[in-house]
Symmetry: C2
Subunit: 106 residues, 2 copies
DNA sequence: AAGAAAGGTTAGCAGTCGCTAACGCATCTG
DNA sequence: CAGATGCGTTAGCGACTGCTAACCTTTCTT
């Protein structure tokens, strides 16, 4: 089984998801945005499809990929589960901790 | 130079960050929570430290690791940048047309 | 019908990853 | 002091990853 967060985090796939956020795209269209081969992109898309993050609609000889709402929702849930309230608090502190806790970081 | 999101996403490191959200921990304490060797955890921690997500305080022969607020804030920023408004819209839509296997609203 | 175009499939390869084992170096304790 | 403890370091290994190249099928075009 695959780790949804890891699948979505890989740079090329992350970018694919962002591109697909603008709407449906074919494999060839998507490949045009990358330096790597169409085959590489195809494999990324199949992986994303297997993870349930994207879905494809076949139309003639084209495959139109789109984001899968449910899958992306699950991804969001996983991130939210990771980003617990403790982390929220820590990051909130980082915003205005200048005066009191001047913890040295560069 | 490392991809912050990928560094933070790896399952063991993700868990380390969550454990550290509760406060400072030494390497040995943290290792106790994992099935793998102390060396493996140490290497994960050094990677996280290199990425600026955690910091260590030396006290005697112990090293107390803690989350780095600024680093975690950068991580949050990266995720927010990925999760564009388009994605927000898509996931919002998924709430209505929710398929029968949904999970993860808080 | 013949060729072009879209795209999935497979083999194979180089690079990376996470891990363990063994070690070295401090630091603490009896 | 000698031994134990905490922890980083290094070498090496098996597994995995992302990639390309070549191929095959299906569909469109002329």
């Amino acid at each position: 089984m695959v780790d949804l967060l890891e699948v979505a985090t890989e740079p090329s796939r992350r970018r694919l998801l962002q591109l697909l956020a603008h709407g449906e795209r074919t494999v060839t269209e998507l490949s045009g945005e990358f330096a790597v081969s169409r085959s590489a992109i195809s494999q990324h898309l199949l992986l994303l499809e297997g993870a349930g993050l994207v879905a494809a609609r076949k139309e003639g000889r084209n495959r139109h990929y789109r984001l899968d709402r449910a899958g992306m929702n699950r991804l969001r849930g996983l991130f939210d589960a990771f980003w617990t309230s403790e982390l929220d608090q820590l990051v909130a502190d980082a915003q205005d901790t200048r005066p009191r806790h001047a913890q040295g970081e560069s």
